[in-house]
């Protein structure tokens, strides 16, 4: 394990590269690696490659695998990055990106739009992601305001308000699903982490949130380090605690909400990847955040790969796989690292 510690960024980049390559290369239709490379190269501007493969191969790579791979990478990065930030902000190892209600709010929004057949003319198929995003954003806003005491927002109060409001939203979601006859399957598949919309469009919609959100988180490593002394200490050290808190919550929630809106609710990645990073490469948040972002992308790509090939031709909901495979893996890592207190 010690040797792994040497080059954290190199290791994670190589891992991500491998995961990306695997994700594009493996699918239910076998495309020979050589052909795959030629297809990819032929897509580059200014390069001409004599096409000696069936058209469907190009479509599969260009319209199915590439956009899917990127969507999964961004989602994993968003969840793990936000999870790391929340663990630092709340100074709580149980914190994950869904701690203050993003998932339950998004779930409520999505199921609401599925069950009431919201005039789907205006946004078309984007009604579900749009209402999921709005549900998530509203929930975080409500929780934040519920927890506010004067000008300060104590983190404990926020966690409690988040848990309470999440339960409320989840019950409402269950009620709606119970009352709905026809859309149960769609709702369930979204709640288990299934991307409803495929193709490149969701990526375009995601990129602004992810870049700005994760970008802000990347810049917050130092602030998070200072926060580890406790909020009062941090304030005395010159950190504008409440403002940092608001910024972190805003950045992490928007990133998570955007990812969840398109990929459904995928658990466990946001909780576990930051811990694995912490076990291997220490508790400096200037490092944990970027490494979690990279690691989250690779972890979700690998989970997705498993979801696609484990029961071919069926494709498993991603949310099932992440915890099913992630939990034993995490326990194993924990046992390997038990000699040292990492948190």
């Amino acid at each position: 394990m010690t040797r792994l510690r040497a080059h954290p960024y190199l290791i994670n980049l190589v891992l991500l590269g491998l995961a990306l390559a695997l994700s594009v290369a493996v699918g239910s239709v076998f495309i020979p690696p050589a052909t795959l490379v030629r297809i990819l190269v032929s897509r580059l501007p200014g390069v001409y490659v004599q096409a000696d493969w069936p058209d469907t191969f190009t479509t599969i790579i260009q319209q199915i695998r590439l956009p899917h791979t990127f969507l999964i990478t961004l989602t994993g990065a968003a969840l793990a990055g936000s999870g790391a930030a929340y663990q630092g902000l709340f100074r709580n190892p149980l914190a994950d990106p869904y701690l203050i209600g993003v998932a339950s709010g998004a779930g409520l929004g999505a199921v609401l739009s599925l069950t009431i057949h919201w005039p789907s003319t205006l946004l078309g198929l984007y009604t579900v992601p749009a209402s999921a995003f709005i549900g998530a954003a509203l929930t975080v806003a409500i929780v934040y305001n519920l927890a506010r005491v004067g000008r300060a927002v104590p983190t404990t109060t926020m966690i409690l308000a988040g848990v309470a409001f999440s339960s409320f939203a989840t019950s409402l979601t269950s009620f709606l699903m119970f009352r709905s006859n026809t859309e149960l399957r769609r709702a369930l598949s979204w709640l288990l982490g299934g991307a409803l919309i495929s193709g490149w469009d969701p990526l375009l919609a995601l990129i602004p949130y992810i870049t700005v959100g994760l970008g802000s988180l990347l810049l917050s490593g130092h602030a998070l380090n200072v926060l580890q002394f406790g909020e009062e200490q941090a304030q005395q050290l010159g950190l504008p605690v409440e403002r940092v808190k608001l910024l972190l919550i805003l950045a992490a929630s928007l990133t998570t909400a955007a990812a969840v809106a398109f990929s459904g609710i995928i658990g466990f990645i946001g909780l576990v990847v930051p811990h694995v990073v912490r076990i291997f490469w220490g508790s400096d948040y200037r490092r944990i955040i970027p490494l979690s972002i990279l690691g989250g992308g690779s972890a979700l790509l690998l989970a997705d790969l498993l979801a696609r090939i484990a029961l071919t031709p069926q494709i498993l909901p991603l949310g099932i796989v992440t915890a099913l495979v992630g939990a034993p893996f995490f326990v194993w890592i924990l046992r390997q690292a038990k000699a040292q207190a990492f948190w």
């Binding site: 199915i64 198929l125 579900v128 006859n181 598949s189 010159g238």
Partner: protein, 347 residues
């Protein structure tokens, strides 16, 4: 440096929010798919104006089938689907569609099916492209190069859109509202597959069989009260089918009265107390096929022995697939129901 940067980051974040609110939503407006605008029917058919040059002028060739007319049919989403010739490489995305295709003799034109399609037995040999509770395996579907995908109401609109975005031809077969609508669906699929004659024969024979049941039930005085159990996992609140469902329709037509017909939604739970009060004469176990429920296990349920159907041993397993899939086997279902409900008329 971190303190200086905060307001800047905040502004960046907010602008991104506004920005992506535009980019995220607008490009799709043109593609709004389900129930969007079926309002304008065939004002101007979008039949590709065939260049008359391509087919050689009828130079006294006597073959009458030389010029194939393109097949133009409006599907369940109000879209005009154009086929140059009857489909030969069909993927069926629903059990009902698979059954319709095979009943029309077009089984040899089907290359793949969804995970739920289990009838007829030959269908099980076809390539399974998923579906079920997971997603459809778009990759395998695409690699089969189908010329028609037959979707149904159980398929999510996103899935249909995704397949169309890949350049595939998707026909959405809407659920019929009654048996006559099912005949229309048979005729539609027949036109898509070039099986018009088979469809007319099939519809005629189905109509004769239904008419026979109707004639039998015309003079029926006593209509037994039927409880159709969809799912009795929770014996204190089993699920049943309400008004407007095929089960409701077929039970009525088979000379019975559907207990669930008075409830307020299509698929509903009823409390055991209400069930005992209503006291059905016959209980049909739609969950026998998949849930392993038997008449014996029903009479073992607490409180159920107070129901007339249980007392008089009028509890029967029933093949739910006959009445839940909107295909030609619904007539089998109707006949089976008629036999169970009125054995005195079936010597």
């Amino acid at each position: 440096m971190h303190i200086m940067n905060k307001p800047l980051i905040l502004i960046l974040l907010l602008t991104a929010l506004a920005l992506s609110a535009c980019t995220g939503a607008t490009p799709v407006v043109t593609q709004s798919l389900p129930e969007a605008a079926p309002a304008t029917p065939t004002t101007e058919p979008v039949v590709p104006t065939k260049a008359p040059s391509s087919t050689p002028e009828p130079t006294s060739t006597p073959e009458p089938t030389a010029t194939p007319e393109p097949i133009v049919i409006t599907d369940g989403l109000g879209r005009e689907i154009v086929l140059e010739m009857p489909a030969q490489q069909i993927v069926s995305l629903a059990p009902s569609n698979t059954e319709i295709l095979f009943a029309l003799g077009a089984g040899s034109q089907v290359v793949a099916r969804d995970a739920f399609s289990d009838f007829p037995a030959e269908a099980q040999d076809l390539t399974d492209i998923g579906g079920g509770w997971g997603e459809i395996n778009t990759e395998s579907l695409l690699s089969l190069a189908p010329d028609l995908i037959l979707a149904a109401e159980i398929n999510a609109p996103e899935q249909i859109q995704a397949l169309e975005d890949l350049g595939l031809k998707v026909f959405y077969l809407a659920n019929p509202k009654e048996l006559e609508g099912m005949y229309d669906n048979l005729r539609i699929v027949a036109r898509l597959t070039g099986r018009e004659q088979e469809a007319e024969d099939l519809v005629a024979s189905l109509q004769t069989r239904v008419a026979a049941v109707d004639a039998l039930m015309a003079g029926v005085e006593i209509r037994p009260l039927v409880f159709y159990e969809l799912d009795g996992t929770d014996a204190n609140a089993p699920w049943t089918s309400g008004p407007g469902t095929f089960i409701d329709l077929l039970v009525e037509r088979a000379g019975g009265e559907n207990l669930g017909g008075t409830l307020d939604s299509a698929w509903v739970q009823i409390s055991i107390e209400a069930l005992i009060t209503q006291n059905p004469d016959i209980i049909l176990l739609g969950d026998a096929v998949w849930g392993g429920v038997t008449p014996e296990s029903v009479s073992a349920r607490t409180g159920w022995d107070a129901i007339a159907a249980v007392k008089n041993q009028q509890v029967y397993p029933f093949d739910d697939n006959l009445v839940s899939r909107p295909g030609p086997r619904m007539v089998d279902g109707l006949e089976a129901l008629a036999k169970l409900l009125h054995p005195e008329l079936h010597p």
